[in-house]
Symmetry: C2
Subunit: 530 residues, 2 copies
Amino acid sequence: MSMKWISALLLLQLCCCFSFGSSGKVLVWPMEYSHWMNMKIIVEELIQRGHDVTVLIPSSFIFLDVNASSAIKFETFTASISRQQLEDFYMQFITKWMNVGSIHTCLEYSPVMQDTFREYSGVWENVCKEAVSNKKLMTKLQASKFDVLLADPAAPCGELVAELLKLPFVYSLRFSPGFHVEKAAAGLLFPPSYVPVIMSCLSGQMTFMERVKNMICMIYFDFWLETFNKKNWNKLYSETLGKPTTLYEKMKQADMWLIRSYWDLEFPRPTLPNVDFVGGLHCKPARPLPKEMENFVQSSGEHGVVVFSLGSMVSNMTEERANVIASALAQIPQKVLWRFDGKKPDTLGPNTRLFKWLPQNDLLGHPKTRAFITHGGANSVYEAIYHGIPMVGIPLFGEQHDNIAQMEAKGAAVKLEFKSLSSIDLLNALKTVIDNPFYKSNAMKLSTIHHDQLMKPLDRAVFWIEFVMRHRGAKHLRPLAQNLTWYQYHSLDVIGFLLALVAAISFLVIKCCLICYQNFVKTEKKKKRE
Amino acid sequence: MSMKWISALLLLQLCCCFSFGSSGKVLVWPMEYSHWMNMKIIVEELIQRGHDVTVLIPSSFIFLDVNASSAIKFETFTASISRQQLEDFYMQFITKWMNVGSIHTCLEYSPVMQDTFREYSGVWENVCKEAVSNKKLMTKLQASKFDVLLADPAAPCGELVAELLKLPFVYSLRFSPGFHVEKAAAGLLFPPSYVPVIMSCLSGQMTFMERVKNMICMIYFDFWLETFNKKNWNKLYSETLGKPTTLYEKMKQADMWLIRSYWDLEFPRPTLPNVDFVGGLHCKPARPLPKEMENFVQSSGEHGVVVFSLGSMVSNMTEERANVIASALAQIPQKVLWRFDGKKPDTLGPNTRLFKWLPQNDLLGHPKTRAFITHGGANSVYEAIYHGIPMVGIPLFGEQHDNIAQMEAKGAAVKLEFKSLSSIDLLNALKTVIDNPFYKSNAMKLSTIHHDQLMKPLDRAVFWIEFVMRHRGAKHLRPLAQNLTWYQYHSLDVIGFLLALVAAISFLVIKCCLICYQNFVKTEKKKKRE
């Protein structure tokens, strides 16, 4: 074959890797609430860069005003669960979790959680079944010829849709309980001696007893999640694809894992080339506040303001808790903006104003803001890190305890327990983070680290999605470990072989020595007899 | 304290992190040959960006034309070893290694290497001693108030100089034998089931027997290097600093590890946040060739040219080897440019031209270049990857066997053994990589991957050096594992404690059961007797 032909062939081959022009077609399999709030930022950035994005949602999808986001295309499929049922389910899920109260180890709250997680898994399994068995939907998606799928593995099914549509896919993930998915599917390593298992509520340099707790949590999560609802999912995936497979086998096919964290929030731990840490990708410089709010903030004078929100899922609480909190807030010299949708507490001070919704990022970026009372959701903590605001953390559920534990270990937050905190506790915590420059200084250090990265987290997230589109995957970043069985991965076969070899050689040597010795002794004895 | 005072204090505190303006002062502790050729690119880029760079070298430093690099400042200190002695030592080092011949496992060549490495370590230990005990030099360096030190850990001492000058430091490293330093000092993880130990000559997906070999190599290197010359270095470091310390303890203080590799060359493996992979940072687009060379290249017509070089340390070989090679080259339709400084081989064909020096990068980037015959040094392999040129690898020493094994596993190279290759072998290998589009296609894929990164490797290397200058370190990226002892790191104390706990509980339960049983049996017996 002449060189010209070879060159032409190669060009053709390489062109296939770049079949789409500057704009690609992205399909999104999202999760609800804060997960979607974060993913929406990526989706909007992709649209901004000229990509065509379709978000695949069940008819029960809650956290979405379809009409409001006009630039995003939504592809809705019918789900048997109603929006109200789903909302009730989530509220029940959170209430149960919050009611566990003071949490010291994973063992205290996890038994309560196991049932709730099983229920959650069942809900999503049904939604998944309804999506992939919807022939009209799948045919339409197939015809749309997407280039990549962006999925949240907290709501499994994205990887199944990707397989059915023969698409490479990228994950966006904050965490899975006990980092189990990150271990089992992404192959990440979490040495329990210095990496606290998520949902263990531990952080930073652990004492001996904390390392014991961490080891117990690791064993607990591994044991629990190894058996957790796997059968159902594996059955669904195998039946849908018409060949025996598992949920994790499909998850392993992810081309890139975008983890919504970074070393400003977490302490450094081992990673892999197909994992990038894009925590805080949703953060933006503050925009001006609504006029009335700005006037209220400015009225705080040199004392400044405190921002208080418990996140997108919790805007209410019991009267008793609200009064305890309001009475503490009434005693500080700062003005307070509180996101609260319940009955106005009797103890509410004149310095505190209630809002049904807060422009949280804009408030945290306001020069008057002195502290942030937060539930510790990753999105909120990142907005505080971005703007360098010290926190009073009142974690409620999920990995919020861990996020606040990390911030506490880094000296940027004080942690309180929602169920047991008194007015004095909250008052003292606020005074501490506002008046002690240690907290502001650490919050500013984290902010500096966050802003001083090779590339902005959102740009990195988009880069990797575009990379996967350009190359139809990112196979060169996938560890070869994925081709090994668990015993090969842990080198158990090799260790067994080497031990057997050593044993065999030792046996032969001893046997030879014995034979020699016996022969020698016999000869000697014979000689003596003669 | 009023808020104004707190703000002022914070500003002052934060300003300390950014004490230097846009330009900083960099001290460099380099290694010889290809190490320096690579580091020089970083140094030149730092100068380009306005930094003030001083390279600290012993008077014996070989691979440096001090006058030629006018922009770089050199600080020379007297070393007792002469340049000639050092050059002879390196040549002997390489000759010994090359003479081991066909290499199949680390165990074959390492015994030969152990003595040579001990000698090498002794040479650098002396150089180090002469640097740090040179009071005039150290006072001058102290007075220069550097912001950061850039060191090559293949030549230890940089970390000691950094400690004496109280500087944060960044490492530039390709590898240490068996990845021992990367494991012991950087804390990187190398699971032997899918990460071939460097200098094991293995790559990619390993068979069972290859995994056995890899495990043996890992044990061998760990065992050898755990004892290797450590005492001398630890003694030197402890005496110099006036407190008991070790070489690895000081190495662990590195703020950033810039590894001269990436996932185009290596297969993905676990990494850490304070490690970045900047392989190929020296690669540049090709510049025009000298006129005469360009004419020769153009005269090759549609067949193109083959570039042949065995690297910066080897420009000669025995007459017999030269004739075998020349006779193969004479039989290909391509023209050949051969970097060779020996007697002209008798079998040299009219298509082959000998050069004492080659503009390798410019040649590899020339559109007429069809293949590259290389020793497989990382710098050379990266130039081939950058320009997408398939290779015939003739590895000689160091990690060249591993580099070529990686390229072979990725389908971009054919490997030959220098000592045993025949003319037919070389001819066939050249025909294969030139005529079979598989090799060119894979080389182009690697090139595409190399060019499609978040940020260029050189920009990343410079970013991290500047980051360390800006923040006087990068402590937030350093794993907390470094504060643990080896048994804590491996959770042996925790496992021991938990096992003891389980044993104690089991013992108590069994004891209680026994007591109950005995009491019950006795009571029953008594009852029966009565």
